[in-house]
Subunit: 271 residues, 2 copies
DNA sequence: GCGAGCCTATTAGTCCTACTATATGGTCAG
DNA sequence: CTGACCATATAGTAGGACTAATAGGCTCGC
């Protein structure tokens, strides 16, 4: 009886005390009825799964800034997890600036400007539901600021490894197309390689966030229209300029690339 | 019948480590050595204080990427806190990309590129000790990319409130100087107001990080030399351009401002 | 001798329960 | 009306017990 697939959250396999809780949910001892709340699929560790759920709920607007969550006792009980696991999830959200907890006041959702929108997890939560058009626009604008500058720096500082990474990624983009998951990953790798090639730790930190944006918006474009435009030539132009150490050309090529992507995204979102 | 705790002793009132006495830890062998470490001053809540301590230790190079921390049982015991509080601190660090925990492997410090360097807390930890010159350079480079672009956008989009915030901040900078804490706060507020005036959520998120950099580096400059240069005229030029909706001038003025700040910082760091 | 696979020891993960600290809001004395 | 104080709700901390995952050693078959 060791292997209990995904169903049971309770650890105690021995029969729980019969009357210790009213338990509206039929605490599945052996039936894997996920009707209530899976809660495990969202992440491997339990507190991570809870953080994911809360995070997507907040980013999805289910809880708005200023709202107060149910008390930790009630909420953890409602989820069927220990208060401990729930608290650790809250710590994660707190660390990302989404909520704030104080005794007697409870746990409240912070105003948007406190959110760490560029945190990879937060971005993933933001794109878990329908992406907010306003947010996508903001992120593209940020890309339009960061990436051309990064391309310029990359043209000045790239080393052999940087170029290899970029070439590999571009080749992978050619092989698979952006219609495939592998292709989108390659696209993200390409942009990531450029950020790395700038040899700037602060920029590299943004890579995770920008990579997420690249990936999600690309997927979104694909879903909306057929194959918008072939993005390979634009990418190749950026690569060539960086390989040639032509900083102004690299910056300009990257700007063109992003403008095109923004244009396609705008069309597919009707904005 | 596993939990038969009925006979548990009713929490003896004899407090084990009472208040004023710092409770000389019997065995300060492992990770914490001097018994007189308050551990509460670093943050209001205990797990926050632990996170601060660990974060500064990691950012300060005390633990290097790949290192494994002592086991949670040992470490929490060495700190004299419950494993619970310690675990919550670890969750915070995990959320910021500093460490990763897995059973049997323990808690390991992640490679630098996984760190959320732009997280305000992480930046604070980075500047808690001697700032790494390389990191400061990276952050200034990022400022040089972000802030001129933000100033350009601000010139196009600023509203009445934005201008008021900027004017107030500049006035406060004039009143107090950068030699005072209030003056540095005003400096940060000025830059923050510009980021806000760009009306871009993603940029606003960077405001917290950039604000921290502004503040810390300014303080550092002050400590190193007397009064380097009067930065007010440069700031005023930026404000004027934004007020006049002159986007190119705003961008250029901001670029000049940052170049000057970078120059001063470089001189004071000998880099 | 050597590799596949079981075994074990270690460590994080989860749960439970009880208690403390903090902040709000209402109450009562002055 | 005002201020101090108490009641209450909620997060914070503690410590103990059990579970799950897994690296590394050990056994055993080949």
């Amino acid at each position: 009886m060791r292997r209990r697939k995904g169903a049971a959250i309770r650890h105690s396999v021995t029969a729980p005390p019969p009357e210790d809780l009213p338990a509206p949910d039929p605490d599945p001892s052996l039936d894997s009825e996920p009707g209530a709340r899976p809660l495990r699929d969202t992440g491997r560790r339990l507190h991570g799964a809870i953080a994911n759920r809360l995070g997507t709920a907040i980013l999805g607007g289910e809880y708005k800034p200023g709202d107060t969550l149910s008390s930790q006792v009630d909420f953890s009980e409602a989820l069927g997890v220990s208060r401990n696991a729930f608290r650790e999830a809250v710590q994660v959200l707190t660390a990302k600036g989404l909520v704030e907890s104080r005794p007697k006041l409870g746990t409240r959702v912070l105003p948007r400007e406190r959110w760490n929108l560029l945190d990879p997890d937060v971005l993933a939560w933001a794109f878990a539901g329908e992406p907010d058009a306003q947010l996508v626009r903001s992120l593209f604008e940020l890309r339009g600021i960061i990436e051309p500058a990064a391309a310029r720096l990359a043209a000045e500082r790239r080393d052999r490894d940087d170029l290899r990474r970029m070439r590999d990624a571009l080749a992978a983009m050619r092989r698979h197309t952006l219609a495939t998951e592998a292709g989108r990953t390659a696209d993200r790798d390409f942009h990531d390689a450029i950020l790395r090639a700038a040899h700037n730790d602060a920029l590299m930190t943004l890579s995770a966030g920008i990579g997420a944006v690249v990936r999600w918006t690309t997927q979104f474009k694909q879903r909306a229209r057929g194959l918008p435009r072939n993005p390979i030539p634009e990418h190749a132009r950026v690569l060539d300029a960086i390989a040639a150490s032509d900083a102004p050309a690299a910056e300009e090529a990257m700007r063109a690339l992003i403008d095109q992507a923004l244009d396609d995204t705008r069309n597919s979102m009707g904005g």
